[in-house]
Assembly symmetry: C2
Homo-oligomer: 132 residues x 2
Amino acid sequence: MKIGELAKLTGCSVQSIRHYEKEKLLASLRRSDGNFRLYDSATVDQLKFIKHCRSLDLSLAEIRQLIELNQQPGMGCEDVNRMIDSHIEQVALRINELQDLQDKLMALRNSCASQSTVKECGILQTLSVTQK
Amino acid sequence: MKIGELAKLTGCSVQSIRHYEKEKLLASLRRSDGNFRLYDSATVDQLKFIKHCRSLDLSLAEIRQLIELNQQPGMGCEDVNRMIDSHIEQVALRINELQDLQDKLMALRNSCASQSTVKECGILQTLSVTQK
DNA sequence: CCTAAACTCTATGGTAACTATAGAGTCAAG
DNA sequence: CTTGACTCTATAGTTACCATAGAGTTTAGG
């Protein structure tokens, strides 16, 4: 199958697929006489794996690592566990940051009565005050 | 004062300051004979305003808009309020996304007993299964 | 006075994971 | 045999910077 069909089957864009190839996430592939990329059902699975990982916000570098690990079935999978653990940690951190941000933004929002002028706007005033 | 001192006073990097200037967030400025940027205390305040906004994750484009609004003191500040409101909304959305992600990552993590091999790794197996 | 260090300048490339575009080639149907 | 759909490569753009190169400026010390 050609790239357009693969894209439809997996829900990836054509460009994404070419991008994954450039980033070495898809194995080297065959080309047609006219230099079109040719794929089979194994690629569909590979791509779905990638998509699944991306939906978990794993980076392409991390995914590449997982693919490599996957090719060494006998090895321990501590590295996999570690990767997911550190990912969970990062997400938790980011959530905390955003929650802090949310609080600050709410406070800022409350500093302005809606019907004010720019000159009197509590938001702009607050933003102008030096903070720690 | 020159750019290095400004950077020290505000906690911005020298590159950031030059970047803000290129992005029209800092008013046009004087130069010394040797073509060095020269600043005064007003710039310190401007830059602190920008920094404060950035700490709230406002984009440079949004900050530019706020600065422009700030220069029209008589106008209503509904636009300011709207900007902050939509920002709060975006942050809330992102927090929800990340919390979903967190749940998925936890579930994934639980699918592998730590002492497994790559071949049996529940994480890799889960990632290989097609999901909705 | 001269030199070396510290500072500044502009311009460019890199980051992440794509999207969008241009300009060219390939293929299938009518 | 031409038109439209598809594909190819290469390049620029996104965001808010950081890092670097190569050059010029300023300042302090000997």
